[in-house]
Subunit: 385 residues, 2 copies
């Protein structure tokens, strides 16, 4: 698709489904102090791809498109992909950076130890959604502010989830692999290809992404279920056409298709272990674009091998990047990709703009849009508690 159109449509999408950060009327104390700041951005390297699309902002080379603006204001802006270990480029800047920007696609892991070393650190920004790469408790204890560009890529992720549901239900990949290997065997695909219509789809978590997914699923005439901390108000529930399941373990065995839509927290880590997977319907399909560590890696691989899980698709792994020997690369009936769903060109335009908005507010000592805060005044946002 062409560049110009991408920008236009991203802006349209922006206005239709995303609320930007805004400087509130209150000017209560943020952490900014006057003067030049040292800002470090951690993104993936795009190399030869960086110049292929002027809207490809979320990479090291294009650095969210904010370099000129930051430098014109007298700030220092260091950008790197080299993020892990004591000799990394990031580690060098930990002692004196004021702001660290990272993304879930190539996360800068911010441990308690790094926070302790980062004497000047005030603000941790996620360009995108999901701040589990940060030790949030340590950040809260240190009085740091952690914020995301809430909403910036929820549509992107929800669309991608629906794609993955269909890829698994329709048994797409074996068919495509036949094409590229010169074969033609309809039976080998068809014996386990199903319509989505009429199936029971349950989302574990119905926050912004879960709701957008349910809305997109509605015309497919499925039986839609959702589990969440909160029941939707009846109007919303009715509009979305999904039934609330308070008890997760009561919902899961009803589902033909399960979609994971909750953050990674101490409570959700390893939630899908061997025992819980064993209780799922035989032949269940699972889509997980939330976080890899919500699943027990080996338990998922074993259940795909046994056929108990008939298909598993997602773009999240633990750790990231996934090592070459990660078992999910080799298990049968997987439709995995690298962490990509939230970093479409449209999403990049939105989270780059949202990050810039928050930096601007920070420099002025103004508040962010309330929903962007993950840690504020020593408190974690509810979904991370």
């Amino acid at each position: 698709m062409t560049m110009k159109r991408a920008a236009t449509s991203a802006i349209r999408a922006f206005t239709s489904s995303w609320k930007p950060a805004f400087p509130s009327l209150l000017t209560r104390g943020l952490h900014a102090s006057p003067g030049s700041k040292k800002i470090v951005g951690v993104f993936y390297n795009a190399n030869e791809y960086a110049s292929k699309n002027p809207n490809f902002l979320g990479c090291v080379e294009n650095a969210l498109g904010i370099r000129e603006w930051l430098e014109s204001k007298g700030h220092q802006y260091i950008v790197t992909a080299d993020k892990d270990g004591p000799h990394s480029e990031l580690e060098k800047h930990i002692p004196d950076l004021h702001v660290l920007i990272s993304t879930p696609f190539h996360p800068a892991y911010v441990t308690a130890e790094r926070i302790k070393k980062a004497k000047n650190l005030q603000l941790l920004l996620t360009a995108g959604i999901g701040s589990d790469h940060i030790d949030l408790k340590a950040a809260a204890d240190a009085g740091l502010t952690v914020a995301e560009v809430t909403g910036s890529n929820v549509v992107s992720v929800a669309e991608d989830e629906l794609m993955r549901i269909l890829i698994l239900a329709r048994n797409f990949l074996p068919g495509h692999h036949q094409v590229i290997s010169g074969d033609w065997n309809v039976a080998a695909i068809a014996y386990r290809a199903y319509d989505l219509e009429g199936k029971t789809v349950g989302t574990v978590g119905a926050g912004r992404i879960g709701k957008l997914l349910l809305q997109r699923l509605k015309p497919f005439n499925c039986n839609l279920l959702y589990h969440d901390r909160l029941k939707m108000d009846p109007d919303m529930e009715n509009q979305i056409g999904a039934k609330y399941e308070e008890d997760l373990d009561a919902m899961l065995p009803k589902c033909d298709i399960i979609v994971i839509n909750m953050p990674l927290t101490e409570k959700t880590k390893g939630l899908f272990d061997k025992e819980r997977i064993a209780k799922l319907k035989k032949g269940v399909l699972i889509v997980n674009n939330a976080r890899g560590a919500i699943m027990d890696t080996q338990a998922v691989a074993d259940a795909c091998s046994s056929g108990h899980i008939a298909g598993y698709s997602g773009d999240v792994w633990y750790p990231q990047p996934a090592p070459r020997d990660h078992p999910w690369r080799y298990m049968p009936n997987q439709a995995m990709t690298p962490h990509i769903s939230g970093t479409t060109i449209d999403a990049q335009l939105r989270y780059a703009a949202g990050t810039k908005d928050m930096l601007e507010a920070y420099f002025k000592g103004e508040d962010f849009f309330p929903q962007n805060y993950i840690v504020k005044d020593g408190e974690l946002a509810p979904q991370y508690r």
Copy 2:
């Protein structure tokens, strides 16, 4: 997914979105004459897959699940996958068969020559939708009846089209190929991955499948366009949220994504030739689950190679099965499969039931459901004229 559930949900889907053939109250002359009939079914071989799913009806081995019923009524039922050439099993039975059943997934090509040889032939049934494997004019001239199980797999195909739109827009396959080849390079995917939201999607043809696709696209907040012989009534248009484009060549250059949803006829054969493709937006994505021959094969391959078409996905080819050297197997940015979208397990249950209904009506000399007729009393159905 489990077998039992598949059957249940197929039945649910059946009742929700498909009208079966029904014996009308009128008993005006069909072609059936009393006595035993010779019925030949042409399906794909499933081999080891035939026994893997009891609902896998659309293959040679399971023969639509109607063998016992037909034989109990004294009819002869021959089933084969060997369909092409003068020495094929099908050719042997041409001179004396009364009914020929075939599917679009493994079509028995019924030429004028075969029709001339088939002195007993009365009825040609397509288990599924799309009867372009039959020389319809020759069938009409010979006074044959041609009928399909209209509606039996429209949901299946529409769901599959939406999957393919997303696979192309999100640049899914390069990401998956990274996973299986041990790589991790988010940039190589992201620089050309887009949200569907905000894009202009046009369907060429808005019959049953096109309408179901538009309904499923509605929550994605796209700009939806359709071209068809007929404008929808204003209520339907409003409900679907798509804008009518009377002039195909005025619509096409507006589209970021084009979906082909019309039958193959003398008028649509080769419709997307080099000249028409050149007028499309650079970077257009095309989904075609209709018929391969609507496209100029080499023109599509060339436009994918040049990048003018940024992605092409579909399950239809010309001819079928696609030979090993078919250029669409090798062109860049293709997300092709063998012909599969209309032959999900759910669709098979529906078109097997619909074929049985029509045979039953034929034996009784009763009419089919009117929408099932492709050729009746020497006349072609409107979409094939």
